[in-house]
Amino acid sequence: MSLRSKTLLIISATLLALITLLYLSSHLIVMNSYLSLEHEIAERNLERVLNHLTDDFATLNAVARDWAYWDDTYAFVQGENPEYVNLNLIDASFISFDVNLLAMLDDNGQLVVTRAYDLQQGAPIPWPTSMTDYLQPTSPLLAPLGDGNAIQGMILLPENPLLVIAIPILKSNGSGPVGGVMIWGRYLDAHTHSRLEEMTRLNLNLFPLNQPLDPRLQTVVLQLHDPTNRVITPLDDQVTAAYALLTDLNGTGAALIEVQIDREVWSRGQNTVFYFMMALIAIGLIIGAIIYWLLEKWILSRIACLKTQMNLISADPNDTRTGLANAIEVNGDDEIKTLADEVNRMLKALYQARWQAEQNLITRAEILEERVEARTAELNEANLRLVDEIDERRKAQEALIVARDRALEGLRLKTQILANVSHDARTPLNVIMGYAEILEEQIHGNLTPKQSDVIKRIHANAAELLAFINNLLDSSQLEMNKVSLRPERFAISDLINALMAAMETRAVSRGLTLTVSVDADLPETIYNDFGRVKQILFNLVDNAIKFTLTGTIQVRLYWLPHDATRWAIQVADTGIGISPELREQIFEPFWQVDGTVTRRNNNGVGLGLSIVDQLCRLMNCEIQCESEVERGTKFTILIPFISEPVTEDLR
């Protein structure tokens, strides 16, 4: 909700409340006073009518007294003046005294004369019987006979209410005794009514109580239980009515008199209030408009102006014409102006702060730039160094590659030479051994024991030399990774037989015992490279024979008790043992070349264990070595079972 709307709302609400309050209070006060004024007027008019009636009685009373205190009347009522009726009770009397009934009763209460006259028709009428009925001996109208006092009041006859005066007939000087009673009566009929209306210039109505009344009037009658009470009640917007109760001679209510008055005062009051209201609204609107106009001029438009300028600034704070750098302009010298000044101070502070921040940022950016430049330069330098370094390293690497290639070439050459040498050496050895065997077999004649021994020695040494050359070849081939495995299914018994055939004689010839045991749970056949397994076993046993002077060499083949995936070849001897320092070296090729190990009864350069080691690596086997110097050595080779390819099975 905008400030303008709020202002309008407040002004409108205030004016509305004010006008409503004023209207209600003025209505209450003004209309009340007008209403009481109307009451007063109505009551006064009612009293006027009642006074008229009283005046009528007074006039009638005076006339009646003239007639009753008259010797002629006295004499007539005593029956002595018969001419009296014809002389006095004429139509003119009724007309001039404005009465309807006249009767005289003697001192016994007997009617002497009765006369009735219709004033509207201007003609005599018969004496109403209702009046005769009323004039019973107990009737109040006969009271003057007793006490000599006149009585006046109203009686209610069936045809009309009647104003009546009963007066004692006395002599002209007022002396008695009372000769009778003279009764005068005037009907409160249409004639009287119109005369009264004419005299008071008021609208009058008379409601005899012996006739049916409408409910409104009945309520009024009830309110008028005390005859001195007056009831004033509006009939409608135009007319208000005032009521009084007229009593009869007995003091009981006889008729209700109604005076109708125009509600001129009341409607004037209404008009007054209406015009007041109109004026109030007009003034309220004018004042409201003025207040709004002034608020608009002094406050709202300036706040709007302030807002517009601030919006402009916030829309684009960087604009040089409308942005932060500019001040807000507001006219006048009040709180709004102060607010604008404060805003301007704030804008200025903001602008300065921002400028400062920008300056800082620029400075930092410059510093950063300098740093970046410095770092870049450093990096470039480092990069150059790195390039140089890489170049050097590359050169070094190239040199290394050349060196490695040379070394490999050397190795290859060495292997090649070894292979050639071995091949060339093996053929003559083969020949030597072959001829030795031919001699041994004594194909060409018998040998002496000495000759036989010599031949055996030649054969044995040639065999040893052949084994050495084979090892040399194998070692160099293993070194060059030229050896590939050829697994096949072989029987453990074949392995054992081959071992015994090759080694038992040598062991026995050296005075050693070679025993072989195979655990019962080991499979009868195994899938692996038979030649290589045999080579491992032969090398180990050969080694054991070489380094054992006395005792036994025990070979055991078994399935590892705690590792179902491997089986083991174990070769235990009672030889010289291996000292802990040597244990690291024994798997190196040519470890015996330096001659530190006692070469007692063996020859060789230590290739056997090196080949075992290399083969074990090739075949994923593990070598365990337990040894005690001068007590013996135990080598255990743990060999994994290899699963046989299915195609092998099928074939």
Partner: protein
């Protein structure tokens, strides 16, 4: 009838030893020192047994083996390949009846020949 064995081997002494071994196993032997000579001899002779070296002058033992096996005349002929070259020996396993790696001992060859002699003897009966 004495069975005939050819020893195709370029080393004179080794072939002599082989010949003595086969001879002591009751074979009649002929030594052929190069591939060409062997080829020539095989055109008119069908031996019962051939001991074949693979590295031969003039014509390689591998070629010779292939030709012998392709010739229907030699379908009853036993061939023992005796070589020091393990890799080449591998290639002949399907065609040779037996492959032995050098060094071949006198006794080993004699035992083998004796076994073959018995087989041949049984076949002729």
């Amino acid at each position: 009838m004495t069975p005939m064995a050819f020893i195709i081997e370029d080393d004179l002494e080794l072939s002599d030893i082989f010949a003595q071994a086969l001879g002591s196993a009751a074979f009649e032997t002929a030594v052929l020192l190069d591939g060409r000579q062997a080829e020539h001899r095989l055109t008119f002779s069908v031996p019962d047994l051939i001991v074949l070296d693979l590295h031969l002058p003039e014509k390689s033992g591998l070629d010779l083996l292939r030709e012998i096996r392709a010739d229907a005349r030699f379908k009853e002929t036993r061939i023992i390949v005796a070589t020091a070259d393990a890799r080449a020996a591998e290639l002949t396993r399907d065609q040779a009846d037996l492959v032995i790696l050098k060094p071949v001992s006198f006794r080993q060859l004699r035992e083998l020949a004796k076994r073959i002699y018995i087989e041949l003897d049984q076949r002729t009966l």
